[in-house]
């Protein structure tokens, strides 16, 4: 399958014949990284690279996702795809400009996102937690989703649902890991930091998935295009955050695999340190490799491939007019 490689050390990434070589700053051993089947490289440390490396990655259609220190996701260097598709972009823009069509797609995304949040809450409800009121709130929010609503109202419904959903975190997680409030830049405590880091990994993986389909990652439906660079990735990531990032978070925290020593706290900001990022990333990659029987493809597919399929589904909808049903966890 398409693999992600995470580089945590500082150093230099360079092309060495037909592989990549990582030369660490601390005079440690050089590491060779196979590029076969690579989907993307995630750079977490301070890495130098040159144009020779860039064209190599471009030829092999491998993306680089750069993770900064404070805001986690810093940006991507995307390979030009051999097959860009003008027709796809034209249809993407048409759907965006037709406000009815845009609302229909945005509503589908919000519906899927709430459904996937709800699945997590239902999973933990009954395991000594009383989350009935959260489930009710999520269902109430889902019931309000309607294709005729303007985009900002759809956004508002999703925000309301998220608020209710995050209430459940305090019950699901042990008392030292409480989510008093969801805050981003910088995250003020451990849980906020874990959510931010996980979401940025989901986001970067969606960027990779979209790249594989010749969809334009900047033309989106729920989020405003250009709001951030790859706003279509924000749309699709909303569907997958509960399934990927939040499940990894619950598991790691509840099994004490992440503790306070995995964070660096200073002046009201709390960030995962290198050890914490490594632990999280490992669990996250394992999650991506999990498979599930797909109802119409008649085979098992990995969670990672589900993101690719979501991009395919959207593209198919835009090019054929066949209905788009957003990804809703079915297992």
């Amino acid at each position: 399958m398409d693999r992600n490689y995470h580089v945590f050390s500082d150093g230099r990434l360079e092309r060495s014949d037909d592989t990549l070589r990582l030369v660490p700053d601390d005079d440690g051993d050089k590491q060779y990284i196979p590029i076969e089947n690579a989907e993307a490289f995630f750079l977490h440390g301070q890495i130098d690279f040159n144009t020779r490396l860039m064209s190599f990655l471009n030829d092999r259609t491998v993306a680089l996702h750069v993770f900064g220190w404070e805001d986690y996701y810093a940006g991507s260097v995307m390979p030009k795809r051999g097959q860009t598709s003008g027709k796809t972009v034209v249809n993407q823009v048409r759907a965006y400009e037709d406000s009815q069509h845009r609302r229909q797609l945005a509503a589908a995304i919000v519906k899927g996102s709430i459904h996937n949040m709800r699945t997590n809450v239902v999973y933990y409800n009954g395991r000594d937690h009383d989350l009935d009121s959260v489930i009710e709130d999520l269902e109430a929010a889902a019931a309000r989703v309607d294709e005729s609503l303007p985009i900002d109202e759809l956004m508002g419904i999703e925000a309301t649902a998220k608020k209710a959903y995050y209430r459940s975190f305090n019950q699901i997680l042990p008392s030292e890991f409480q989510l008093t409030q969801r805050e981003y830049n910088p995250p003020p405590n451990e849980i906020n930091s874990l959510i931010s880091f996980g979401n940025s990994l989901v986001y970067a993986n969606c960027v990779s998935a979209i790249r594989a389909t010749a969809l334009d990652p900047t033309i989106s439906y729920l989020h405003e295009p250009g709001e951030r660079r790859y706003s279509l990735s924000l749309d699709i990531a909303d569907l997958f955050k509960p399934v990927l990032a939040d499940r990894v978070l619950f598991r790691l925290v509840n099994r004490n695999q992440i503790s306070e020593s995995d964070f660096e706290t200073e002046l009201g900001s709390c960030l995962l340190n290198e050890a914490g990022r490594k632990t999280y990333t490992k669990a996250f990659e394992e999650m991506l490799e999990r498979t599930v029987e797909h109802p119409t493809l008649n085979r098992k597919v990995s969670y990672q491939y589900l993101m690719r399929l979501e991009a395919y589904k959207l593209k198919k909808h835009l090019l054929t007019g066949e209905a788009y049903d957003s990804f809703q966890r079915w297992w």
């Binding site: 010749a214 399929l309 395919y312 054929t320």
Partner: protein, 182 residues
């Protein structure tokens, strides 16, 4: 100039005559017309296909290696065909199942050569795996079948939506499989 019949439009396009809506048919489109009309629609929209797909790779490899010593590739407008050293048009198939699609693709090449370039050639349908070759000739009957196919192809590709998916035995090895069924 507005031309109504798809066959005339195709010929006008191929001859470089001014047409309002040029109409092109490639060999692979003829093949897909007989294999799967949904696949034909996808192909006509230039949807990118999954090059990693094992069957696609296999098909390409057989095409590339068979008879490579004595083949010449000829690009002529919307078609690209292989000629044997005796001048016959050869179409190589990885297996002998789905013979009709390959035969019709070859017939289309012969028809195109005849109508567009006034070159009359015979064809050979080759199955290298089975060491079999079948001669294919452009009879009147075949010509008519080609023209019916061209009109049929036009009907499919001018629809704004593809024909709905129907499960076929070769779906599993189709390059559009995941896109089609996701």
């Amino acid at each position: 100039m507005t031309v109504a019949d798809p066959v005339d439009r195709l010929l006008a396009t191929a001859r470089g005559e001014p047409v309002n809506e040029p109409f092109r048919v490639t060999g692979v489109m003829v093949q897909y017309y007989y294999v799967c009309k949904r696949e034909l629609w996808f192909e006509s929209r230039n949807l990118e296909i999954d090059r990693e797909n094992a069957t696609v790779v296999r098909g390409t490899r057989v095409d590339e290696t068979a008879y490579s010593d004595k083949r010449e590739n000829l690009h002529l407008g919307m078609i690209s065909l292989d000629l044997l050293d005796d001048g016959r048009v050869v179409e190589v198939k990885p297996s002998s199942t789905l013979t009709e699609p390959a035969e019709m693709q070859l017939s289309y090449y012969l028809w195109y050569l005849d109508r567009v370039a006034d070159i009359q050639r015979d064809g050979v349908l080759a199955h290298p795996r089975e060491r079999k070759r079948e001669p294919v000739e452009l009879t009147t009957e075949r010509s008519e079948k080609v023209e019916t196919a061209i009109r049929g192809i036009h009907d499919i590709v001018s629809q704004s939506s593809p024909p709905p998916a129907e499960e076929k035995p070769f779906c599993d090895s189709c390059a559009y499989h995941d896109f089609c069924w996701c």
